[in-house]
C-alpha cells in the first residue's frame, strides 16, 4: 500500500499549482477589459452605471482568492480546478451578453437589458424585492406544509386501509390530475383572502403527488416486514409508523419532490393572477411597466431561492434515507 501511495505524494508536492484554476480569473479580467475599453454603442443613451464594473472586480478578487487557496489546499484545488472551466464559461457568457446589449446593441434594449441595468435593480429595489420574496415564502410555506401533511395523511389512510381506499381513491383519481392552477377562478371567490386562496391552491398542488406516492409506497411494502414485526409484538399503529412509513419513505420523498415543483408553479401563477404582493406579482407588475431589468432581477431571485429550497430538500432526504446508500441510487 505504501509503495503505491508514494508516487502520489510526490506528485502532490510538485504539482501544487493547477493551471486551470486561473481560467475563471482570466475570463473575468477579459470581461472587465471589454466593459471598460470598448465604448458603448452610440445608440445607447442611458447613463452608464458602475455596478457591472464593481461586480466584475469583486469576482476577480474572489477567483484570485480561490486560486491562491488552491495552492495550499489539495481539496480546494481539486474541486476548484474541476469547476474552473464552467465558471470561466459562465463569465464569458456574461461578457458576451454585455457586448450584445451595451456595446453593440444587437438586441432590443427594452426587453434585453444589459447586466449593468439588472445589477442596478438589485441596488435600488433590492429591499423591496426581499420583502416580496418574504411574502412569497410565507405563502409557499403555509400551503406547502399543509399540503405535504395532508398528502401523507391521506396517503397512509388510503395505502393502509381498504375502506379508505374504496371511498377516497376515486376522488383522488378525479380531482388529483386537475392542475391546481385550474382552480384559480373558484379558489379566488371561495376564500376570504387571496392569501388563503393561494395557500389552498399550493396545498392542493403538493397534496396530490404526495398522496399518490405515499399510498403506493405503503401498499408496496413487503408483507414479510409486517409479518416479522407482528411476531415481534407490533400492533397496528406500530406497523403503520414503525414499518410502513419508513419502508415507504423513498416513495414519499419522490411525491414530495414532485409536489415541490408543482407548488412553485402554483405560487407563481397565483401571484400573477390574483395575489397583490410577492415576487411573482413583482415580476408581473414590472412587466406591465416595461421594466424588463426588474423582471430579470426577479427571475434571478426566484432561481436562487427555489434552487436553495430544492438543495435543502435533497439534504433532508439524504439524512432521512441515509440507510439507502448503496442500496438505491437516484
Amino acid at each position: 500500500m505504501q509503495q503505491v501511495n508514494q508516487p502520489d505524494k510526490k506528485t502532490e508536492k510538485t504539482n501544487r499549482f493547477d493551471l486551470r484554476t486561473l481560467a475563471p480569473t482570466l475570463s473575468a479580467v477579459l470581461a472587465l477589459l471589454v466593459h471598460l475599453l470598448i465604448p458603448n454603442s452610440p445608440r445607447y443613451t442611458l447613463k452608464p452605471m458602475p455596478y457591472f464594473t464593481i461586480a466584475l472586480i469583486f469576482i476577480i478578487a474572489v477567483t484570485i482568492a480561490f486560486a491562491a487557496l488552491s495552492v495550499f489546499s489539495r481539496k480546494i484545488r481539486e474541486k476548484y480546478a474541476y469547476k474552473s472551466w464552467f465558471i470561466a464559461a459562465v463569465l464569458l457568457v456574461l461578457n458576451l451578453l454585455n457586448i450584445a446589449t451595451m456595446k453593440l446593441m444587437l438586441l432590443p434594449a427594452i426587453y434585453f437589458p444589459n447586466p449593468d441595468r439588472i445589477l442596478k435593480v438589485f441596488a435600488d429595489d433590492g429591499a423591496f424585492m426581499l420583502k416580496c420574496l418574504g411574502y412569497s415564502l410565507r405563502l409557499l410555506a403555509t400551503g406547502y406544509i399543509i399540503g405535504a401533511l395532508a398528502g401523507m395523511t391521506t396517503g397512509i389512510l388510503v395505502g393502509w386501509s381498504k375502506k379508505w381506499s374504496y371511498w377516497v381513491n376515486p376522488l383522488i383519481k378525479i380531482i388529483g390530475p386537475i392542475p391546481s392552477t385550474a382552480w384559480v377562478p373558484i379558489a379566488l371567490v371561495s376564500f376570504p383572502t387571496s392569501f388563503s386562496a393561494s395557500a389552498f391552491l399550493i396545498a392542493l398542488a403538493v397534496w396530490f403527488p404526495t398522496t399518490v406516492l405515499t399510498s403506493s409506497g405503503i401498499s408496496n411494502v413487503q408483507n414479510s416486514y409486517f409479518e416479522v414485526s407482528s411476531t415481534l409484538g407490533a400492533k397496528t399503529l406500530h406497523k403503520i409508523f414503525k414499518v410502513a412509513l419508513p419502508a415507504a419513505a423513498p416513495s414519499i420523498f419522490v411525491g414530495i419532490f414532485n409536489g415541490t415543483g408543482a407548488s412553485f408553479i402554483t405560487l407563481m401563477t397565483a401571484e400573477m393572477m390574483g395575489v397583490k404582493y410577492g415576487i411573482g406579482w413583482y415580476i408581473n407588475w414590472q412587466k406591465d411597466m416595461l421594466s424588463y431589468a426588474n423582471v430579470y432581477a426577479g427571475l434571478i431571485v426566484i432561481a436562487i431561492t427555489f434552487s436553495l429550497i430544492i438543495t435543502l430538500l435533497f439534504r433532508v432526504r439524504d439524512r432521512v434515507l441515509g440507510w439507502q446508500k448503496g442500496v438505491i441510487k437516484w
Binding site: S224, Y225, V228, S230, T231, L232, G233, H238, V243, W323
Partner: protein, 263 residues
C-alpha cells in the same frame, strides 16, 4: 441449562385449506394432532407442499386454521405475539434500521427498552456481531444478517422460536457454524424450538424429535426420536443409520404419491 416450564405446544385436529388460483381447494394440513414439550427441539421435514411451512405459520398466528386449534401453554393461538418469535429463510431485517435498532425493535415497541437495554448488547455478543451495531443490513453478509435476525427474535425472550428454513440460504460452512450457535442459544435459554428444514442432516444434528411429513394427504407421516447425545458427530453410525431411515421414509412417501421433488 434452564429447565423450561413454559412453551408447551399442542395441536388438536388442525386443518388448513387453500384455494388455488384455478379455484380448486388444496388441503395443506389435515387432522394434525401433536404435542411439543417445553424446551424441546423439533424439526419438520418433508417434500414441498407437505404443509410444514403452513404448520409454522399457524403456530406463529400469521394464518388461522380452518378447523382445530393450536395452544401454547393451554392458551389458544389466535394472532401473532412476541412470545412466539419467528425467523424466516430470508433475514427480512428492516433495511432502514441499523443492526442494533433492528435487534432492539421488539423491546422498543413494547416500551421496555430502558429496562432491557443491556440485553441488546448481550445478544449482539451472543450472535457474534460485535462491532457491527451501527451497520445497515445491506452491509452484512448473508450469515451475519441471519444472526441479526435470530438476535432480533430472541430479544423478546420468546417461549417458542419458530425457524422457517433459517439456514437454507447459507453456504455449508456458515450453516454448520450457525447450527452450533443455535444449539448454544437453545441450551442457554431453554426455548422451545420448532424448525422447518429441507436438510435431513440438519434435522438430525439439531433435533430431539423429527416430524416427517407427507404431501398428499398433507399430514405428519411419522415422528422420529433422535436418541443421541450431544454434540453429535455427523459421521457416527447412529447418525448415518437415522439419516438412511429418514431418507427411506421420504422416498417411500414420495413414490407412493408420485411426487418428484423432495428435499
Amino acid at each position: 441449562m434452564v429447565e423450561p416450564s413454559t412453551g408447551n405446544i399442542c395441536a388438536e385436529n388442525l386443518r388448513k385449506e387453500f384455494i388455488r388460483p384455478d379455484g380448486q381447494t388444496v388441503v395443506a394440513l389435515n387432522n394434525v394432532n401433536v404435542t411439543i414439550k417445553a424446551g424441546e427441539f423439533v424439526s419438520l421435514i418433508g417434500p414441498s407442499g407437505c404443509g410444514k411451512s403452513t404448520f409454522l405459520r399457524l403456530l406463529a398466528g400469521l394464518s388461522k386454521p380452518d378447523e382445530g386449534k393450536f395452544t401454547l401453554d393451554g392458551v389458544p393461538i389466535t394472532a401473532p405475539g412476541y412470545e412466539r418469535g419467528l425467523v424466516f429463510q430470508d433475514p427480512t431485517l428492516f433495511p432502514w434500521l441499523t443492526v442494533y435498532d433492528n435487534i432492539a425493535f421488539g423491546i422498543k415497541i413494547r416500551n421496555i427498552y430502558h429496562e432491557k437495554k443491556t440485553e441488546v448488547q448481550d445478544l449482539i455478543r451472543l450472535v457474534g456481531l460485535d462491532g457491527f451495531e451501527k451497520a445497515y443490513p445491506h452491509q452484512l453478509s448473508g450469515g451475519m444478517a441471519q444472526r441479526a435476525s435470530l438476535a432480533r427474535a430472541l430479544v423478546n425472550h420468546p417461549k417458542v422460536l419458530l425457524l422457517d428454513e433459517p439456514f437454507g440460504a447459507l453456504d455449508a460452512f456458515t450453516r454448520m457454524n450457525m447450527q452450533d450457535e443455535l444449539i448454544k442459544i437453545w441450551r442457554e435459554r431453554g426455548t422451545t424450538m420448532v424448525m422447518v428444514t429441507h436438510d435431513v442432516d440438519e434435522a438430525i444434528y439439531l433435533s430431539d424429535r423429527i416430524f416427517v411429513m407427507s404431501a398428499r394427504p398433507a399430514r405428519i407421516d411419522s415422528i422420529i426420536d433422535v436418541e443421541m447425545g450431544r454434540p453429535r458427530g455427523r459421521d457416527l453410525p447412529d447418525f448415518l443409520r437415522l439419516r438412511a431411515r429418514i431418507l427411506q421414509i421420504l422416498d417411500f412417501a414420495g413414490k407412493r404419491e408420485e411426487i418428484q421433488y423432495y428435499l
